[in-house]
Subunit: 389 residues, 2 copies
């Protein structure tokens, strides 16, 4: 087993009605609040009004930054930092999913950053920075940004999308009922994201980190069982709660404790896809992952044992032929994504080969594709993109 | 799924050689250190010398409190608080297992407590207190005190042993190699304690908290697989590391998230046993748990489904007759404890019926036996004690 460090100071309130904790969660930091959110979904659902009632009754001064896009942009970060400085903000309150929370993490770090070049900050931050406190209210089960210290920020001018470590939220408010209104497509894509966060760590050479491997299998099975229920009955509390619980743990680092890191190759490849084509992150992951699996299994059959374990322990498959069993597990994953309405090829998203070379070059920078489970080079990545067409 | 709050600020360094973090872990709080430990085992193993070298080279001022007993006493807490006050202590450094860490948590809380009546504090503390920071170095995988906010303190004058909530350690240093020298009997008893921490929460009426139930089963299977390896080869790093990883999660509250609490009935009954007879906590739990299981299964067969799940998912048993399968799972647990050298009856520990009535009265106070999975009254508890003879 490998060494690890656990350091997650976030306080999480999980369950029905935990918005009652919002006032005290903010008040410990001060009265001046930057409220960040994306489009109008929180207004349609009524959550915006609920939150504003609490903030007004509590006497908080609220400045708003709305319109934060999926794949949040550096321009939103710059706007947010300017608003914080102009308004002497004490705490940022993010309402939304990973995009809003990620953008808010960058704003919290940017507030104290020594220069105005916030894209430089995104490219060079490595955690341990002084940050404004962040409180979030999660509205979709997907990224796990509510319980990790990372953010992904895009720069459309340079076609770059960069994952970076800032700091954990101070408080996360996780009420599964807020995800009842998430549309089917986004629910499914979010679940693919949760599963990818687990699979990126699960597919490791480390064989003896038993608590982590068991936790990974538990979370995968939890998503596999609950996603179809949530799609069929969007108001099923237990299904939504299980997806949200899975979501918060999946990206926390906890499922990888004691394991050699893989470098998160599917995330590296997907970030290029959404940087170039602005596609939904979870959809990109769902398309890439089975093809990545088949590719590395062919390239280096010494990793077969892990796929056999995946087929048996996650999908409940059995069989004597190891290779056949391994491939059946991958097929089961692909079928699961398809059966829950997620596109299964890049062609369906009208993506062609035109940028594959550049995308592969980018994602091989920084060594992520060369470390971990089965190292891949640029040609391998181009081949995997092509397999996804 | 039930609501829950996650709030564990402890920073954990896990793995070989993480003692290298000790200097910085202490230095953030100050230079005056109260060093607490139990008997001479840390001197025999060389750990004491290693730690003192770091403390001396770092220029720390060290005051020692040694001789902290298993089932730590209020008198040690009083001594520790007095030493902290006399020496203007900035941080407590506990080296040992649950007893030393528990006692140190009480010292950290007692330092700021408004009165000198520290037994009153133990009987009434409910967390949220101002405390001195605590850094610990764990030397046995058992209680999980390194990653929870609780302590159990005994008062031999009143035959009381009380579990109480203080605060989490600030930093825990978990190097599995420090457990290589733990004798077989204590290794096995510690593993029984880990398993009990899981089983107390696993046996719940909540059926839909899937991440937590899967995590519980993972940790139980991890202990079941690794304890015999650690007993056969005490220096097997992976086995010791898996037990330590399991230990830290098991008592953290995390495995119970989303589940209705059971009240931890076996712990309530065991605390009476060790308050009266000063027996090893894990041994008391290993004796009590299978008898508690058989008793409640008979008293309220509506809990059968949970025992069937336990038999299937933890022990890999199969069968069509639910009752038979449930009982087989309990037998498997009892056999596992026996096969790893743990006594299986109170008679083996020379314990008779003389205090059963008083013990049962005590442990039914505070409602722990009356809440949760299958409520029990005083007569039930006496019967379970008798079944353990």
């Amino acid at each position: 087993m490998e060494n690890f460090v656990h350091d997650i100071p976030t306080k999480v309130y999980f369950g029905k009605g935990v918005l009652s904790q919002l006032d005290s969660a903010l008040r410990q930091f001060g009265k001046n609040v930057l409220l960040t959110y994306g489009g109008g979904s929180i207004k349609r659902s009524g959550l915006y009004d609920e939150v504003m009632k609490i903030l007004n009754e509590g006497g908080f001064k609220v400045i708003e930054l709305n319109g934060i896009d999926p794949n949040p942009r550096i321009s939103s970060v710059e706007k947010g930092v300017a608003l914080c400085k102009e308004n002497d903000i004490d705490v940022v309150l993010a309402i939304g999913g990973g995009s809003t929370i990620d953008c808010s993490k960058a704003i919290c770090a940017g507030y104290y950053y020594e220069s105005d070049d916030l894209w430089y900050m995104v490219k060079h931050a490595r955690g341990g920075m002084k940050v404004l406190p962040l409180v979030d209210i999660l509205t979709i089960s997907a990224t796990g940004s509510d319980f990790d210290d990372s953010a992904v920020i895009s720069n459309p001018e340079t076609n770059e999308k960069i994952g970076v470590v800032f700091a954990h939220p101070a408080v996360s408010i996780l009420d599964p009922t807020y995800t009842f209104t998430v549309p089917a497509y986004q629910t499914a894509a979010g679940s693919a994201d949760i599963m990818s966060h687990i699979m990126e760590g699960y597919f490791s050479r480390t064989e003896d980190s038993e608590v982590s491997d068991g936790l990974c299998e538990t979370i995968l099975k939890t998503v596999i069982r609950n996603l179809p229920i949530a799609l069929k009955d969007p108001d099923d509390y237990a299904a939504r709660a299980n997806l949200m619980h899975a979501e918060s743990v999946a990206c926390s680092g906890i499922p990888e404790y004691g394991k050699l890191g893989s470098g998160w190759p599917c995330h590296a490849m997907e970030h290029e896809l959404s940087a170039y084509y602005d596609i939904t992150h979870g959809v990109g992951l769902a398309i890439l992952t089975p093809h990545w699996m088949r590719y590395i299994l062919k390239k280096d059959p010494s990793c077969m044992w892990r796929f056999v374990r995946f087929a048996k322990n996650v999908w409940g498959l059995e069989g004597d032929d190891e290779r056949e069993l391994a491939l059946k597990g991958i097929d089961a994953l692909e079928d699961f994504f398809k059966s829950n309405g997620i596109p299964s090829s890049l062609s369906e998203l009208k993506i062609g080969t035109e940028h594959f070379e550049d995308m592969a070059s980018h994602c091989c920078e920084g060594g992520r594709m060369g470390s971990g489970f089965v190292p891949l080079d640029k040609d391998d990545v181009v081949n995997i993109y092509k397999d996804c067409l």
